[in-house]
Symmetry: C2
Subunit: 113 residues, 2 copies
Amino acid sequence: MSEQAAPSPQLSRGEFGLLILGLLGRREMYGYEIVAELRRSSEGAIDLPEGTVYPALRRLERDGLIGGHWVDVVGGAPRRRYYRLTEQGERALAAGREDWLRFKSAADAVLGS
Amino acid sequence: MSEQAAPSPQLSRGEFGLLILGLLGRREMYGYEIVAELRRSSEGAIDLPEGTVYPALRRLERDGLIGGHWVDVVGGAPRRRYYRLTEQGERALAAGREDWLRFKSAADAVLGS
DNA sequence: GGCGACTACCTAGCGACTCTAGGTACTCAG
DNA sequence: CTGAGTACCTAGAGTCGCTAGGTAGTCGCC
């Protein structure tokens, strides 16, 4: 290992980034859609403002975990930037899922629910 | 409202603080012990450095969620600062547990585990 | 023709948190 | 006398989340 710095030694950092990766693991999506889809598929429990999501998408792209491309929409609607996982992003998602499972049961043990 | 700022609109902020509250909900503990106990009861999954825990304890005390008192130890060992939950801390822990449950199932839905 | 609502993107800057990397001070074993 | 253990602490850097704006176009409504 150590071909690259581990991004989440402790989870907690980049947690929302992981959720975005989770969504993009299902299908290609654009920022505005991610905000809505996150709210919908979490039944309102996770409601990230745009000012959180757009910078997160830029970080994920900067770090090579996702790739984006512009798509023009017919009918004068604003163009969209669609993102999909890169191969590195797939691996990060898989690792992140494991981290999440570990963290979840650890936190459950501590919180005693 | 605004008798006091809501501390966790989205979880994620003060998550480790919540874990500390969870431990202190079981019994009085001191900082150094919390580090070890967190590592032990999470089976190594959560391993916070002292530089994270001590400032977190100070914040929690500053915010009135925990109260600390010094205890001298016989035998020349360093004195310890034991912390226990205040009433406000108990309430915060209960609310935090609910937040955690909501966040957990939301994240599970998104990550699809 | 003007107003609000919606889609879709973006950024600067504040505040908050985590962690690194030290430091203090004392005890005990070898 | 060196190292390991206990137990506390802090400054500073880096990162992240969110507020609060802004741009720009379309659409429906009165």
